[in-house]
Symmetry: C2
Subunit: 551 residues, 2 copies
């Protein structure tokens, strides 16, 4: 059969080391700033490979990390998959029971942990799920004091190993990475990344339609390396031959500003709260952002004010969307050429959406009947995606597979609109969208509107069962201190009536003391839905004319 060689990560490392031997990897840790070149990086990667070999780690074994963004973590990114093993990055912010489940489910054989995260790990370790873990490697110079056992420091672990390693021929279908989704309900679901998936994701996101990483870029992923490989940036940056900057454990806005200035960062990436912190810091300090060209914003929606703030400073915000199941990047809000002549607010509206799907992926947006909805920026449905870096199954979870995959498509659980230009905009999660009279109502849009009222401290909108309309929206409001609930209710309802069709209006407003939250601080709509599942509570309140058919 004709065909090329397998798609693996190894050639990316080879290319960076041979073509860009003097390009730097800069890393902030508790020990200070570490700075070395791809040449030294390659040597250390091979030392780590030898150390893993000596520990008996073999192709197919899983190697876990419990670490922030730094050079040692990055060394594990290439050493582990290149010996045929699988890098399993664990989110250290998860509750202990999730960590236990994840480590047990993955059967990790070795676990790399940051000194600052030992405390977070120790409580989880005393359980049978950790039985498979044979060695803890603490990311630092010194042998640490810890109850983890057996333990070794990273520098001891790799210290005297040879800098040569004869890489095996790893097949492209070999699992190379792994990350668990932190679902709000049920056990986390493991997503495996094969060599080929990571190759495809790297190539697709290095393009101008993706992140556009050139060899003269300086790339600082603030998004954690435990979160879907820091959106793949350690791989894309290497493939592109660019300079890496890793901001280390818990970087403050001051740390980030300092690294941008000193290392002349051109591309950085993270969630909106990181940038809000940096923006505040810049307002109060004299920070030179002139090297910065792109800020990739993902994880949750980029506020328009953020896009404008960076624009004012000559920095382009690129809004990105993806999922753990997608390695993770799906879409990026590049401005299309024919929108370059549009007025600025139109451009910001487009750029604040989740953007255009990158080359190599396909998507569809479907309603309850599986029919595709029109691309008009108004109709919405669930987003389904497929492509070479979109997984087609979860690790050991046939139950979830049945729910989330269909004919090779990943059902993302995101409810979106697509406009005439092909820009995707997330309007809700599929489990939160309110299905009323055969049409869908966005709970997110309603609650954003409600929260805009001065008398509202917090609010959420959920669908409750309804005999005739299937579901109807109910608004739950925590009144601001001193606000009069009756006044708030009537003003909010008037506001909503002016903005939305009648059938979108909540059937009731319920005042509560606080909105229940999940472990990670998100509103727990599930909790509210359980509490208010008795449809009869609100029965009869839906006006006949509120049906979508009448609108």
């Amino acid at each position: 059969m004709p065909g090329g060689t397998d798609m693996t990560l190894r050639p990316f490392l080879w290319r960076a080391e041979r073509l860009y031997p003097d390009t730097e990897i800069v890393s902030r840790t508790a020990e200070g700033i570490t700075r070395y070149t791809y040449r030294e990086y390659g040597d250390r990667v091979r030392q780590l490979a030898n150390a893993l070999d000596d520990l008996g780690i073999e192709a197919g074994d899983r190697v876990a990390t419990f670490c922030w963004n730094h050079h040692r973590h990055f060394e594990a990114y290439f050493a582990t998959p290149s010996i045929g093993a699988q890098l399993h990055t664990i989110n250290p912010l998860l509750p202990a029971e999730h960590i236990r489940y994840i480590v047990g489910n993955a059967e990790d054989r070795v676990l790399f942990v940051d000194p600052s995260l030992i405390e977070a790990l120790e409580p989880a370790v005393q359980s049978p799920e950790f039985d498979a873990v044979e060695r803890y490697v603490v990311m630092g110079e010194e042998p640490p004091e810890t109850s983890l056992d057996p333990v070794v420091s990273y520098e001891e672990f790799i210290g005297d190993r040879p800098t040569e390693y004869d890489w095996p021929d790893v097949g492209e279908d070999q699992p190379a990475g792994m990350c668990y989704t932190s679902g709000t309900t049920g056990n986390p679901k493991g997503v495996e990344y094969t060599q080929k998936m990571l190759w495809a994701h790297t190539m697709a996101t290095i393009t101008p339609q993706g992140l556009g990483i050139a060899s003269d870029d300086v790339v600082m992923p603030v998004v954690p390396m435990f979160h879907v490989n820091a959106w793949g940036m350690p791989f894309t940056t290497t493939a592109g031959g660019a300079k890496h900057v890793y901001p280390g454990p818990s970087p403050t806005p001051e740390d980030l500003a300092g690294l941008i200035e000193e290392e002349a960062v051109t591309i950085t990436a993270g969630v909106p709260t990181v940038w809000l912190g940096l923006m505040d810091y810049c307002e109060e300090h004299d920070v030179d952002l002139s090297s910065l060209e792109h800020v990739i914003v993902g994880g949750s929606a980029a506020p328009k004010s953020m896009i404008r703030w960076f624009d004012d400073r000559g920095v382009e915000v690129l809004h990105a969307w993806g999922m753990t199941e997608m390695s993770p990047i799906g879409s990026i809000s590049h401005l299309k050429a024919d929108l370059e002549s549009a007025d600025y607010e139109t451009q910001v509206d487009k750029r604040a959406k989740q953007g255009l799907m990158v080359p190599g992926l396909e998507f569809r947006v479907v309603d309850d009947d599986g029919e595709e909805v029109p691309w008009n920026g108004e109709d919405f449905g669930e987003l389904w995606v497929r492509g070479p870096w979109v997984t087609t199954e979860y690790f050991k979870r046939p139950d979830a597979n049945e729910e989330d995959f269909e004919d090779g498509w990943l059902k993302t659980g995101d409810v979106v609109t697509v406009d005439e230009d092909g820009y995707i905009k997330i309007v809700d999660r599929a489990k939160d969208v309110i299905k009323s009279g055969g049409e869908w109502i966005s709970s997110v849009e309603l609650e954003n509107s409600v929260m805009a009222h001065d008398g509202v401290a917090e609010a959420t909108v959920i669908g409750v069962p309804h005999e005739k309309w299937q579901e109807r929206p109910i608004a739950f409001i925590v009144a601001a201190e001193g606000a009069d609930e009756a006044t708030v209710e009537s003003e909010v309802m008037d506001m909503l009536a002016a903005e939305y069709p009648k059938w979108w209006l909540p059937d009731d407003v319920v005042f509560i003391d606080d909105v229940p939250k999940t472990a990670t601080g998100k509103f727990s709509k599930k909790d509210l839905r359980d509490r208010y599942s008795d449809a009869s509570m609100f029965e009869g309140q839906a006006p006949e004319e509120a049906a979508p058919d009448d609108d």
Copy 2:
């Protein structure tokens, strides 16, 4: 097994059509300029798919084209592979016996031919190799007058077909394309491109490290679409959502200048002679090249004067190297960030080399013993490459496979140096390099030097067998009109002695009336070697001190 969906071309077409429906495809044919959008393109691709279906073309069948660069040829680029068939692009400039061999070897079932190329095809057709061809489709509106039979015009062929087509799920290992190498000796060798190889090549060459094609680019491939898919540009341009410009049959420099001006071309690509023609035309006419950003030069070496000429006009020449076996792109001479502060001549020296290997490939440069040569810009050896878009075998040619492939590596047959920065420079072909006393001498460098002498009209240097040194160089010179051979010989030898080590100097200079040429006009060293294979002719002339060991 975890993993994404198959890598196929279909999502590139889907993306262009859905995200960039109004972006144009512009095509120059004998009928004038045709201009339509991706939306119409998609409809016509599906009409063609239906027409191929109705003809009984099935997955695995080969569909041949004998065409220049235009929109109809481009329609075949996506329709054929997307129904699972294989697009076989034939070079119409080949001699009739090669065309017969190729069509017979590939067993093409249908053949698309340009009106202007019917005359070139007809003489080849009356032979048993064409037995499998069931239909000739002439690229135009009108039913043509021709002896080809059965024949139909393209517009009739697709005319009344539906614009809907339910694409099958084509596997990534399905052969999608095919091109024969036009070797100077022996039968042409067929190279098959699977869906996955074309996917990988498209992704790797759309990157900033490749061609860097963004959605606001306007791309005009002048390199023929029968020559390794016009270096893949119809696919990269589509994946990038950019505008296509196809210059049609035999474009003159005036045609190219006109298209660049009128369509605001930003990227164009072709062999050096094309650009020499354009440069001459621009010197004599007022041509606006201001839209142009990059000229990709490949096929043979880009002269430095060409790089400088375009630099003076704000256009960056990107020198590229590749092979039919590599889909075809391997390296591109982007200037590295740390060379941006170098002086201009140093930069031109680097950019005139064949460049830096793109991400995803690996290469090695090996001497006769299979040992890698150092990267010092001086030592040379044969270039071996491997990667996901580098073929690992020829079509039905086990003999050639044994010769050209080893352990997954393609032995390119190019002899190169690699400098400290990783830039590759081709110094010879492996079959022409002169192997003397265990070291290699570049025949190309010697003959370039010889040809620089005013008294030399043409010259070539070959290695002839030598008892002690294995081979020794002999220079063959056609003296310029009126030049004195004895004077030329002594001056040339003095010149070479000043430039090269002693052991590089030709053992003899032979004056001949003309250098034998191949069918395509290249110097036929093979012919000369056959003529002068009797080593004894030159025996004893190699001075002892000319051995490399003594240098």
